[in-house]
């Protein structure tokens, strides 16, 4: 068990490097993507060099090795989320791909005109647009339950809408990429099931900062991106409950996803390959194994405790800044804080922070409707990962104060 922060940091080449263009930035945009541990980088390099062959196809040894690595990535995810079977883990290219896949296959099989799909107001565009497209295709309706002023879900409203009995699918973020609150997904799962709906949880942030046990929280679907969890980009996961996944048709057609193909018709492969048409990003997907190994090798309780301390300190310091508003101040906070400051534009703040050596995100955060709700065109966001330190938080806060002196 790795406990020491310095030890964790030593595993990340980025933190040892001179940084981009000779400038070592404090990296506070982890919600967008994380830096990679050496084990992930090394594994990918090694596999590219010594076991690069297309997966699931050929009989020679090289192909078997590649397939083994790819399937080990799947198994790592199964362990991480405690799914019952590897067949429940569909490998995709990311959260966005997972949700699009789900909206298409679930929609095709189960959504009819007049049905409703229920989202929270705090969703990433990736968890809005695919459902809007589905509604356009099928004549279903999109409903939203409210996010309150302090960023927490209005569970009563969620239940009220569900109790009308038309909702077939609930889809909501485990942790919003803007609000950073660990949402009550267990409770929402119970509610959805009580009223006969299935539930998909967008775990892009949740998998990192809350974790999920899909047997303990029996959601029907859960998706996330590998690259936000220390694996390479171009990897993602759609977990689906086996009995449900088995009823779903494929979406993309092509190689790998078939059983028998004739010129006129095709029978499809069993899950999960039915949903994995074409050559997958197999090297990247294989890095899910070392990425998950990294996540499970650190003392997660210790890391979370440390993240909570940093988050509480950051919020305390920010609250002492005149005109600074935090979005999502209520509830159990992940280390992800979005804010605006009166009299200073979010992009100006981010540009100057970058000059001072702190990388933060600014803008709409792919969550335009939520920002509109709060009357903003953009926010600044800081988001931490396991390797960030209190000292970096201090540099960030003192830089932010200097930036605001320049701008106001």
């Amino acid at each position: 068990m790795i406990q020491n922060k310095e030890k964790i940091r030593s595993l990340f080449p980025y933190l040892q490097s001179a940084g981009c263009g000779g400038r070592q930035l404090i990296y506070f945009d982890n919600a967008a993507t994380t830096q990679k541990p050496r084990s992930v980088i090394d594994a990918a390099t090694r596999w590219l060099a010594d076991s690069n062959a297309n997966v699931h196809r050929a009989v020679y040894g090289l192909a078997a090795a590649a397939t083994e690595h790819y399937e080990a990535g799947r198994e790592a995810v199964r362990e991480l989320i405690n799914a019952q079977a590897r067949e429940e883990i569909v490998i995709t290219s990311g959260t966005t791909a997972s949700i699009n896949l789900l909206a298409n296959v679930y929609g095709q099989r189960y959504i009819r005109p007049g049905d409703e799909i229920l989202l929270s107001e705090g969703e990433h565009h990736s968890n809005i647009v695919p459902w809007q497209m589905l509604c356009e295709r099928t004549g279903a309706h999109l409903r939203y339950f409210s996010v309150k002023e302090d960023g927490q879900w209005d569970m009563e409203e969620a239940e009220r809408i569900l109790s009308e009995g038309k909702v077939r699918m609930v889809s909501a973020a485990h942790i919003s990429n803007v609000l950073g609150i660990v949402n009550p997904v267990a409770e929402l799962t119970v509610l959805a099931h009580r009223y006969g709906a299935v539930i998909h949880i967008d775990g892009a942030q949740g998998i990192v900062h809350a974790g999920i046990d899909v047997q303990e929280i029996p959601c029907d679907f859960y998706s996330f991106s590998g690259h936000k969890l220390y694996a390479l980009t171009g990897t993602g996961v759609l977990y689906g409950r086996r009995d449900l996944l088995e009823t779903l048709p494929p979406w993309m057609g092509g190689g790998e996803m078939v059983d028998t193909v004739t010129y006129s018709s095709t029978t499809y492969a069993p899950i999960p390959l039915r949903f994995e048409a074409g050559t997958p990003n197999f090297i990247a997907a294989a890095t899910l194994r070392p990425a998950v190994d990294f996540v499970t090798s650190i003392d997660i309780a210790q890391v979370r405790k440390n993240e909570e301390e940093m988050t509480a300190w950051l919020m305390h310091e920010m609250n002492s800044i005149d005109g600074l508003r935090i979005y999502g101040a209520g509830g159990h906070k992940a280390p992800l804080v979005s804010f605006t400051v009166e009299g200073a534009h979010h992009s100006d703040i981010a540009v100057l922070l970058d000059k001072m050596g702190v990388a933060v995100r600014s803008g709409q955060m792919c969550s335009e409707p939520l920002l509109n709700k709060f009357g903003q065109t953009g926010v600044v966001r800081v988001s931490l990962a396991a390797y960030n330190t209190m000292q970096e938080c201090e540099v960030f806060i003192s830089s932010l104060r200097r930036v605001l002196e320049m701008l106001r």
């Binding site: 979010h346 992009s347 100006d348 540009v351 000059k355 600014s362 803008g363 320049m406």
Partner: protein
């Protein structure tokens, strides 16, 4: 005698060269941004809005006596500072002058990242619109 676009650009490059570090450069940009006359709210129409993910830019173009005149605004002050530089360079120019010019001076003063297509701050789109307008008025002229 009006300076050429190249001359104005060189002047800007020279004045930036005098700054010690990035802090001074950005302080200056912020100052320029503050001094840029605010655009008439009436002209801040939706159709004049160039929407970036980061900051928003409004651009209004007038064509008088064979020359283009620009009024522009942004919600972000650094973006406004850069707009101010672009207006210094392009205001009161003929379509031909504008179409013949390039923006490498932005590079020379160390602000290239602001004009790279990945910077969704509306400046790239603003430049496209300046050129687009120049082209439009040129074809009216011909």
């Amino acid at each position: 005698m009006q300076q050429t676009i190249k001359e104005v650009q060189q002047e800007i490059v020279d004045s930036f060269a005098a700054f010690g570090d990035w802090m001074d450069r950005y302080e200056y940009l912020i100052e320029l941004g503050r001094d840029l006359p605010v655009i008439d709210e009436q002209k801040k129409q939706e159709e004049r809005l160039i929407k970036g993910c980061q900051s928003r830019v409004w651009l209004d173009t007038e064509y008088r006596d064979g020359r283009l005149w620009f009024t522009a605004d942004s919600d972000a002050i650094i973006t406004k500072g850069i707009i101010s530089l672009l207006i210094q360079v392009y205001n009161g120019r003929t379509p031909d002058e504008i179409l013949a010019a390039d923006n490498s001076f932005i590079d020379e003063i160390g602000l290239r990242e602001n004009l790279s297509p990945t910077r969704a701050n509306g400046l790239v789109a603003m430049m496209e619109q300046i050129r687009g307008d120049a082209l439009k008025f040129k074809s009216q002229q011909d």
